[in-house]
Symmetry: D2
């Protein structure tokens, strides 16, 4: 394994974007990384993450053992890595998009109205 | 592999973690945010993202219209926001986990061996 | 294990296969129904089904209202309809495949060994 | 492995419902089979099915080898088995629900209007 060069960007999402670009380029994998394929891979990784929790009561730390904790950590990483690559292929700045969505959510779910209530917005 | 610089106070993943903590606290939603529930919500958002691409050929920009682009942008954000919250509940540093997983992937898929080939590792 | 009786012409899975074939043919939708696209659509419908349960404690009937019950019923149907179509495109007899998998599961999870324990097979 | 008794119902979906009831009862697994848990397990199995197709062009038979065909067959079965159990826990007759949904779909997507067009209903 050749050591990847230190990422030039210091923000975590930008650094990961750069690392995944280089990783795919070195393997000539960009040809498989259509948005459609990456979106499909993302759902697969999200499900592998969910699988760790499916028969647990809440997934709190006390319900986990070390093998499970490591598996969860790796699947969280896989989801993030595909998400970064999909956003990159779609030309979306993930951080900006998340801030924009948080603002929309704040308007949709006013704190005073929804406190302690998990019903979806469309039921209000 | 050189150690990444310590994230600044304004690192995007840390900033989003802080924002989602405050958002959930203001609405008293932490009670619903068990790791199991967040993992389930994450798979739902990943599927809503995938839904935009399911009948397209590759999902390239030329196949999209503006409504679709906005939808994709919002769903990318939703996946990231649930991912950040799930990692937070599990006590996982997402950036560190992703760097660790990239190193594992580099060892599993040596560039010289897998160039241009999308078969999964277990088939080598 | 005794052989199941041959399904009659009115067996539910065969009847649904026939209905979905006709539905797609009348709309000239077979061109979109590649196995890959149908598999993707199936994960989307499964997630829409899961969405109904994500913030509930167990999803027991007492936690549901009529709108939710109808939504669940429709999403269960959607999952089945895509499953029937995907199996059809793959040339798989769903009933035979399910019986075969039940036999494999019975061997993998002997009742006397796993009674009351939800751990996955690979942990035994 | 003890051979299961021949199912008393001859319709495939009813026969599978009876087999899965007996299988879970013999292992005392009903306690884990809340609708929420079964819905989560269903999304996991649907994703494992999708994983077989994610890097393929269309998933047509010529793109598969025998190991892949067997994997797909088993995952199709797993999805059906969880679907049957979830419908059972929700008191839903899967065949009736699918027929009802087909009728709704026929009204929503009139053949003459949507022929050869995969856009979703809400775009018409």
């Amino acid at each position: 394994m050749t050591a990847p060069a230190a990422p030039s960007a210091t923000d975590s999402l930008l650094a990961l974007r750069e690392l995944t670009r280089r990783f795919a380029a070195e393997r000539d994998w960009r040809q498989f990384h259509t948005p459609k394929n990456l979106a499909m891979a993302l759902t697969v990784e999200a499900a592998e993450l969910a699988e760790h929790f499916q028969w647990l009561r809440t997934g709190a730390d006390a319900e986990l053992d070390d093998a499970r904790r490591t598996g969860i950590r790796h699947e969280l990483a896989d989801v993030l890595l595909y998400l970064v690559q999909l956003a990159d292929q779609c030309g979306v700045d993930l951080h900006a998009a998340a801030l924009e969505k948080m603002a929309l959510n704040a308007a949709k779910y006013p704190a005073d109205l929804v406190r302690g209530d998990a019903r979806k917005y469309d039921q209000y």
